[in-house]
């Protein structure tokens, strides 16, 4: 090149020191949370990992759209049953947690990235809290989306949206409470079960398994042991979340017309404690998992 400097060459400057800012634990927590939250929806992962989140979101929201359309066509005569719609959605939320929580909770154990992360500015508790928060927030998005769609839709299709908005103010609380508690219970139990094993398939199976077993035990007590439905439904988290929704939105199924349901606060306390147990179990597991 006759002594000319070739300007297209990237010069190897060798190793460079880093003197810039360090955010410490807070930065590490944010990184773990953000990466986990994205992984819950399969973002930054192959197309395959996006299948379940996409399916669950559409399968929970499309029926809501259908109900809204029917209600709109009938001129608001057809009531929108929030609680009724939630029953089918809950099992899909469990499917979402089962498919995606292992991506966050057991993936690092499976590929042994965890010991590496733990040599950074990250303690086991910091790691656990960031990952649980990621799972819970993703579940909150998934649980809240169909309810918010119904809520916004019900105002939208009203003949007079302004009046409907004032009237609907009372429903905002139940919508948020139902979404938060569903996410808290399903997310925390899902995270706990998924963190127990480094094997992805086992993790998924155990999340579904724990809800299935609870349902089976609950029905068994009901049918075989003759325990009353009011007691046995407390054993099945999904049934109690559904019952809570019915009470919250002031709907009634046939059984509830015969015997009045237990008070709302009992369901709320149950949901809070189930979720708390899940979160504590996750912390317990991640403090002990070998590296």
């Amino acid at each position: 090149m006759n002594g000319q400097i070739n300007e297209t060459t990237i010069h190897d400057l060798g190793y460079q020191r880093y003197e810039g800012a360090r955010d410490g634990v807070r930065g590490a927590w944010r990184a773990l949370f953000a990466q986990g939250f994205r992984a819950m929806f399969g973002l930054g992962r192959p197309l395959k990992s996006k299948a379940v989140p996409a399916f669950v979101l559409s399968a929970t929201m499309l029926p809501c759209l259908a109900v809204l359309a029917a209600s709109s066509a009938s001129g608001g005569q057809l009531p929108i049953a929030y609680g009724g719609l939630i029953q089918a959605q809950l099992i899909l939320f469990v499917l979402f947690a089962a498919a995606q929580a292992p991506e966050v909770m057991s993936h690092d154990q499976q590929h042994r990235v965890l010991p590496l992360i733990l040599t950074r500015d990250v303690t086991r508790d910091v790691y656990a809290s960031a990952r649980i928060a990621a799972v819970l927030c993703a579940l909150l998005v998934v649980c809240a989306a169909p309810l918010l769609l119904l809520y916004v839709g019900e105002i939208g299709i009203a003949v007079d949206p302004a009046t409907a908005f004032r009237k609907m103010g009372a429903k905002a609380g139940p919508v948020l409470m139902q979404a938060t508690l569903s996410a808290w219970v399903i997310g925390a139990i899902g995270a706990a079960m998924a963190s127990m094993t480094p094997r992805r398939a086992y993790a998924t199976a155990s999340v579904i398994g724990v809800f299935l077993v609870a349902a089976a035990v609950s029905i068994g007590l009901d049918d075989l042991a003759g325990v009353s439905a009011e007691v046995s439904e407390f054993i099945d988290p999904l049934r109690s979340l559904h019952k809570m929704a019915l009470i919250l939105f002031g709907e009634k199924n046939r059984a509830m017309e015969l015997t009045p349901p237990p008070p709302l606060w009992m369901f709320a306390v149950l949901a809070l404690s189930l979720g708390t147990a899940g979160v504590l179990a996750t912390f317990w597991r991640l403090r002990r998992v070998g590296v």
Binding site: I10, D12, G14, Y15, Q16, R17, Y18, G20, A21, R22, D23, G24, V25, R26, G27, A28, R30, A31, L32, Q35, G44, R45, P46, S49, H107, D108, H111, R112, V113, P115, L116, I117, L118, T119, R120, D121, V122, T123, V291
Partner: protein, 289 residues
């Protein structure tokens, strides 16, 4: 065991199960010592874990890479786990990956990487937060000879040119001999030796002579001159007199002269005359047996 590790490149040697990885994990605060204490740059491993973590970069012996991420994503994620802001983390990741010799490949998922590339990514993630100490657990594991040489050269360059102290563990002595300043030898959790490599592999009292021609006749002629000679296939080992006094030194020189003169007399070609250096291998064999 009690040992202090000085700056520079230090080799940690021991057979499988000798406790190398355990020692490394205790130093990193991943395992709690069952008894005793350890310090890293003045920080106690049990109390100041956090202070140590920003100082140390760890490359584990096992696979530790998520297959679906790209090297660029993973290394910058690890930088963020060390508290680097997002933009700085991306820049550092690109820089460090270039330093370890990964260029365009860094945008491909790790799933498709060869062992050599995976080892480079592991080294890159250990360097990305600019540690003062690098702890490498069996960095050449699973590499072919060429990959091994490159990895060792990379470690040596990192340790020498950038002022990062390196603790590198291996059960292969030959490769540590090439790059280390100090060597720590452990066996079954006990310290066998910890010394400067120079002291361990200094000159011995043996002269190594390589000749071309009738080696038997040459050996016989040397023995006739009153030297203690040992035959090692094509090489001849000649014992040198011990001692530092003037007389011994003079006799060492005289021995060199005899080796030369006898070669001329017996008509063999003299290929090499060299003070034999101690090998880590000999030392290891001696210590363990």
């Amino acid at each position: 065991m009690t040992v202090s590790i000085e700056p520079g490149i230090t080799g940690l040697v021991g057979s499988n199960g000798a406790g190398k990885s355990t020692l490394v994990k205790i130093l990193l605060g991943l395992l709690e010592p069952s008894s005793g204490s350890a310090n890293v740059m003045g920080h106690d491993v049990e109390r100041d874990t956090r202070a140590i973590r920003s100082l140390v970069g760890y490359m584990p012996e096992h696979d530790c890479l998520p297959p679906e991420m790209t090297a660029a994503e993973f290394v910058s994620f690890m930088a963020r786990c060390s508290g680097l802001p997002a933009t700085a983390a991306r820049e550092r990741a690109a820089e460090v990956l270039r330093h370890v010799g990964l260029f365009e490949e860094r945008y491909r998922p790790i799933r498709g990487y060869s062992t050599g590339m995976a080892q480079r990514v592991k080294l890159a993630q250990a360097l990305v937060h600019d540690p003062r100490i690098l702890v490498l657990d069996e960095p050449t594991n699973g590499l072919d000879p060429a990959g091994r040489d490159e990895m060792l050269a990379l470690i040596q360059r990192t340790g020498r040119e950038f002022g990062i102290s390196v603790l590198v563990s291996s059960h292969l002595l030959g490769e540590l001999e090439r790059i280390c300043d100090h060597v720590i030898l452990i066996d079954a959790g006990r310290l066998v030796r910890a010394e400067r490599l120079g002291a361990l592999t200094g000159e011995t009292g043996t002269l190594l002579v390589e000749v071309d021609g009738d080696v038997d006749a040459y050996c016989a002629a040397l023995t006739a001159q009153g030297l203690v000679v040992q035959r090692d296939v094509l090489r001849v080992l000649v014992e040198l007199p011990n001692g530092d006094d003037a007389e011994s030194v003079a006799r060492v020189f005289a021995t060199h002269d005899i080796v030369r003169d006898v070669a001329v007399a017996t008509g063999v070609g003299l290929l090499r005359i060299e003070r034999r250096r101690g090998h880590l291998e000999d030392l290891f064999a001696g210590s363990v047996s």
